[in-house]
Symmetry: C2
Subunit: 694 residues, 2 copies
């Protein structure tokens, strides 16, 4: 069975990567358009490349230091010798996912704009193909890395199953660290540029979005690529791999058998094939309405999801046998919950529904009321996802036999996360296509293409907001489930260490170390959100000052007679975002160790639970507030409540600007944070057990 | 010992009430000023009275319904027959505290303004005396109610100690329900009026604060009284009583002895005397700077706190004996933590320190950046209080012998809350004086008194913001500790019910029912904050429209030739706030019962922990964001960053307006919410145990 497993997983990962490669070739063969378009696209590409180069330089110093620390711990016998290497590969593949995604996105933006000159369907195909490259690169690399490690540890080093999962979990820590750097750094870059461009360009100077006179306009477009593409790629690579490896670890703990480890891998592998099949259904006819466009995308995703739901039943039955086939419902619960959370996100953030419509109406009474309104929409929107996740946890736990064996139940929770992310290949394609369309719109505007081209890219872009909402639902939901699974893995890990079992004997919630851990853990996402928002604020302020300076000092800029100094804004964003990304990441790595040393293992468990719960709430709150403000603004721009340029619109722009770091920097970073905390705790478990008193 | 206990507590409560009565007589004897001042004060008084009358009417319907429900449960033997009556008296005394506080505040506002005509010291004395009346009414009524019930249950009905504490806890539920109504209703009223007055008056029409031409100006002043005074009175009555009764309950559970119950009562009783002594030190000389004014107030508070720290040592030693005297350090930890949380609040919200100064600077780049900045200041400010509370919980638990007996440790946590609130008599006096000074400023402005009078009232008012910050520290800190103590009481209560012990056998944080309870509980403060903010938003919008209408339709209003229709704004605020206060309170009462029935007792414990943790974070975040915006605005008004009327100032006003519901409606209500949830759970414990399956 082990061999079949490795071969199948490896095969599916190769299929995914091949599919991505072929799609990429097809995309890059399509024409890039006019010379001006090529020039703009090139400067975006250059800016994005320059950013990533510098980011990877800084990150590699971090990885080097961590490699040394983990190496020393391995020498001290606190870790197995594979751990430092697993850590590095996790980081490497996560970075690679982001890099490839960004590469193809920056190669496709002008091509999408150019295809939109011919028609909407063509544009959709190019943009969606670019998204697919990223989607399938992420899942392909994820499965590749897991299968290679599995092969090495099982067949070359001939380790026990428990030792294998333990080493593979570290690999998740590498991926999470990299993802956090990418998300935070990219998130700060994109929002600093966006906020800076909007505040001076739109609000003060009154020029439209993506106007070439705005010195921050290229930086804004670069930001979409390094934040929304490279950041998201690294992030979802981490989610995908994290859910699989935590399920493997819990499966081995529950069954002491390779088959329990096979299941999550097989479901993911099958998911890749189903997702590829789904992509062929994404096409639309010319002149399609927004609803029809959305249907085209949903059709592909739903097809894949239903296919997985059908295929995974015999799979579970075949792998786990007739005693445990009910675990299937855990996978199904995850799949359905992901969709439901996405729908709830859409309800609260799309201007087709009441919350965002009402929010737009609050602009009538000014900026303050739309801010208050957006915050309360976000806070209120936490209720439905909380209920969905709670039901999912209970269902996954109890159908998997949690009532008789807790470890079986926890395995079920981990599988729910795997089920939720099994369609990642296609959901990520629909998600990653958004920034490409956004960029295409920018290029269309800057290179003065016909208005109908801009209309088409706008139609694609606006659709991207909806798919991004759904994507966020999956990301947040799976993060919560995976974090819970990792918390269970942490407890297992402690128990497996000599003298560890007694350290986690009393995990009662009224045990004061668990309670204080809970308090501290719950506080972390708040602190983290504050730091990242502050970073965006600081970076944005420097951009605002630079843009104002250029407007003041470059004569003829406003009349279109002189060109803005785009590079200086890109450079400013690069510098400040790289400087700002370091502290949050270090906090995420240092705090679990300190908590462990001071409060002991029970404190760490409390911390993980607290961070998961408050992180989930804060991530949903911030993402949805941001989404609602964004769409309320767009709704007003469509002509209601005074339309573009009115006082109400100005109020809505402020709301949107506040929402930017909410939904694209702090919110998504929290998803990574809560998993990274658990992975760090697992890696440093032996140290904590041997040193702490409590 | 029991008799001495009752007599001493009763005596101290009578002393507190007498002191309040004498102070009230002295205040009301001072002159009210010119006819215009009398007239304005009268309309504020009328508005506030009318509001409270209508509020009490609605609330009494609620209490009647609850009385019937509890009565039926008592008949079904799910509760002791004293419970429904205890519930009613708790609500009654809580309401009475708010009512008396508001009565004296509305009688003192003009008198304070008038005293400020003579000098700053005179003004301070009048305003502070009015605050003292409220402070000592609250503690006096609290001790009175507890001692009467104790007397009845012990000596008339001759109940066991356990049965006594159990009945007295219900009395806390009555107080909490009333407090929630008062805080939410009053909070919505005051902020709807404030936001409405600011948005149209300050921002749109450009007239100063408290300008008599603003139709919402009387409503704004009424709001200060019904929200910041009556709401706060009911709120802190609940906190005070809640901390004492939860300590009594845990004390009896730990020691099975009346002496453990005596301790919290005695500390509170001694606290009353120390607080009265402290009030005599609050005076300042003419022309005092703000720092000297603050020193005058701190001198009184610190004197009381140190006195209590000294006196409670022999008290603990005498009552608990040489084996358990270390419990003293739990009380001390509480006392110190309260002060430290207050200081941290001051650091993050006062314009003497960096966070608020930096926040003011963000106004340079517009409204969006000051909003982002304020949110991140608030989120970041949760870290220090979380650490303080965590350390306090650990110290209180372990010094009280938690390592050998968990119930002793939990008793220690409850005593820390009692220690924190032991100086409530004087801290509440310094807190409640703020709204009086605020009102006095309004009256000075509206009745056209000399500019130096307004300067003096402004000095007093601005000081009030700082003391309010400290007061909030105590309120939030004690709420968290009390909520933890009540959670422990809940577990004790379940164990005491037949068949209950097995229902709380596994309280591990990785038990899925505990976990889902945690998720749901943590979500409640978010939903609650959203609902209350929405309510403020809705109510404020109606005020905005009404004020705009009056500006438009009443000819000559802006030139001061015609008078605004103040009453219509007061009426509008009254109606909307009363309508809006019902839903949040009902949620707080219904949810614990539903969670209990669906998830069982372990789910309830998870819910209580989740609500406490996320409620604490959200309350600190919201209060401090609000405070920082408020003071950033005042800082700009002092002449920096462009000063009053500049674009930066306008941005800061928006921040302040967003902060209003944060700090005065949602934030403080959450404190009550987290305790009410536990009390409701305790009262319905028997029902849940007998009905739920899990």
């Amino acid at each position: 069975m082990e061999k079949t497993l490795v071969i199948l997983t490896f095969a599916c990962s190769v299929i995914a990567l091949l599919f991505a490669f072929i799609t990429a070739r097809r995309v890059t063969k399509s024409p890039e358009g006019t010379d001006l378009m090529k020039k703009i696209s090139l400067s975006i590409r250059k800016g994005a490349n320059a950013y990533l180069k510098r980011q990877y330089k800084i990150v590699s110093i971090f990885f080097l230091i961590m490699f040394v620390i983990l190496g020393i711990m391995a020498i001290l016998n606190l870790l197995t010798p594979y751990v430092p290497f697993a850590f590095i590969t996790g980081g490497f593949f996560s970075a690679l996912s982001g890099f490839i995604g960004m590469k193809i996105a920056t190669l496709s933006n002008a091509r999408t704009a150019n295809a939109c000159r011919e028609g909407l369907n063509k544009g959709l195909r190019v943009a969606f193909s670019a998204g697919s490259v990223m989607g399938f690169t992420v899942v392909g690399l994820g499965l590749l890395d897991i299968s290679i490690w599995f092969f090495l540890l099982k067949f070359i080093f001939k380790l026990e199953n428990e030792a294998i999962t333990s080493a593979i979990l570290t690999f998740g820590m590498g991926a999470s660290s990299m993802a956090l750097f990418a998300r935070v750094g990219g998130g700060i870059f994109t929002k600093a540029a966006d906020v800076g461009a909007d505040l001076v360009g739109k609000v003060e100077a009154g020029i439209p979005e993506d106007d070439p006179r705005n010195p921050a306009v290229i930086a804004d477009n670069v930001g979409d690529n390094v934040g929304d593409v490279a950041g998201m790629g690294a992030d979802l690579y981490e989610s995908y791999v994290g859910s699989i490896i935590s399920a493997c670890a819990l499966g081995v703990a529950a069954f002491h058998d390779i088959k329990a480890m096979a299941l999550p891998l097989m479901i993911s592998a099958i998911g890749v094939i189903c997702s590829i099949l789904g992509t062929f259904f994404v096409r639309t006819r010319e002149g399609a309405t927004q609803k029809q466009l959305l249907r085209a995308l949903s059709y592909g995703t739903n097809f894949s999801a239903i296919l997985i739901a059908i295929v995974s039943f015999p799979l579970v039955y075949y792998i786990l046998g007739s005693d445990n086939w009910a675990v299937y419902f855990a996978i199904l619960a995850g799949l359905i919950s992901g969709v439901l959370i996405g729908q709830s996100t859409e309800y609260f953030t799309s201007d087709s529904y009441k919350p965002t419509k009402n929010l737009a109406a609050t602009s009538e009474t000014g900026t303050a009321t739309i801010i208050i309104g957006g915050l309360s929409v976000g806070m209120l929107s936490t209720l439905v996802p909380i209920i969905i996740i709670s039901v999912c946890v209970l269902v996954a736990y109890f159908v998997s036999g949690g009532a008789s064996s807790a470890s079986m139940g926890l395995y079920g929770i981990a599988l729910a996360a795997v089920g939720m992310l099994s369609t990642l290949g296609i959901t990520l394609s629909t998600d990653a296509y958004g920034p490409v369309a956004d960029n295409a719109g920018g290029i269309a505007e800057m290179s003065g293409l016909e208005p109908e081209v801009r209309q088409r890219t706008d139609a694609l872009d606006s659709l991207g907001n909806t798919t991004a909402a759904t994507g966020k639902g999956f990301a947040i939901g799976s993060a919560a489930l995976t974090a819970l699974a990792l918390m269970a893995s942490y407890i297992d890990k402690i128990k497996s260490i000599e003298g560890g079992a007694e350290k986690v004997a009393d995990l009662s919630i009224n045990n004061p170390t668990v309670l204080t851990g809970l308090f501290i853990g719950a506080c972390l996402p708040f602190v983290f959100a504050a730091l990242t928002m502050n970073s965006v604020g600081r970076a944005a302020q420097s951009v605002v000052k630079e843009v104002r300076r250029q407007f003041r000092e470059i004569k003829g800029l406003m009349d279109g007679k002189a060109e803005a100094d785009y590079a200086s804004c890109v450079d400013l964003c690069t510098k400040s975002s790289l400087r700002e990304m370091i502290l949050p990441t270090i906090i995420a790595i240092v705090v679990p160790v300190i908590v462990g040393l001071v409060l002991g293992c029970t404190g760490v468990v409390g911390m993980l639970a607290g961070a998961t719960v408050s992180g989930f709430l804060l991530a949903v709150f911030m993402s949805n507030s941001g989404g609602a403000w964004d769409n309320a603004k767009k709704y007003i721009e469509s002509g209601v409540h005074g339309g573009k340029g009115s006082e109400n619109h100005k109020a809505a722009v402020v709301g949107d600007t506040v929402g930017d770091p909410f939904k694209d920097t702090s919110g998504p970073s929290i998803n990574i944070l809560i998993k990274l905390l658990s992975m760090v705790s697992i890696v440093f478990a032996a140290l904590v057990v041997s040193v702490s008193i409590l």
